[in-house]
Symmetry: C2
Subunit: 120 residues, 2 copies
């Protein structure tokens, strides 16, 4: 995982997304311990405070949870990981198709561009 964040954009959403990607990729499995707020803060060059806030947001979505003093862990609920993956894919795909259709692109044109970029 590359914890190189875009400092020009809000950091918390980026940290949340990175975590979600790792879960969606199954790099982090249900129940796994994840990196501490201080570890991530060091790698991502941000404040522990910022990571804490990001983790709390994911906790609120039920994706991860904390045990005081012990660390943060991926939710044991097996469905969550699959949900995170599906929602990520569908959200990104939906946004992308919508953007292209607003520009007036036909289905065939969209597929043409998609195929072009897959082969690289």
């Amino acid at each position: 995982m590359d914890w190189e964040l875009d400092k020009k954009r809000p950091l918390c959403p980026q940290i949340c997304e990175q975590l979600c990607i790792m879960i969606a990729r199954d790099d982090l499995k249900p129940g796994d311990k994840i990196m501490s707020v201080r570890e991530v803060a060091l790698m991502a060059q941000v404040t522990p405070n910022t990571v804490q806030k990001s983790y709390e947001q994911l906790e609120q979505q039920g994706v991860i949870y904390s045990r005081r003093g012990a660390g943060w862990f991926v939710s044991e609920n097996q469905e969550i990981a699959q949900d995170v993956r599906e929602q990520y894919i569908r959200s990104k795909t939906g946004d992308y198709i919508k953007d292209m259709q607003i520009l007036g692109l036909s289905g065939d044109e969209i597929e043409k561009y998609v195929k072009e970029f897959i082969n690289e």
Copy 2:
């Protein structure tokens, strides 16, 4: 055009993108007068100041230009509109494909999702 911006995200980039979309769609053609900062401000529920700043950013990219007292206009350079369109499509497509591949999706899987969302 729906000037309903997402107030939770930076407004200037959103205003810039809306303008670019209108140019890419050919709703605004080279040389066309575009809405004044005050008009857009009113419709988008933002400050004229914010629109001004957005316009200045697009001006720096050569997409639009101003004539003091007269208004803002789309660049007369015919290439610009085509560039805006192509760059928009390629940027979005590239980002999307990259996001999907990071998740480990194959080309076939990506195309499957794309086709699914086109039919809606």
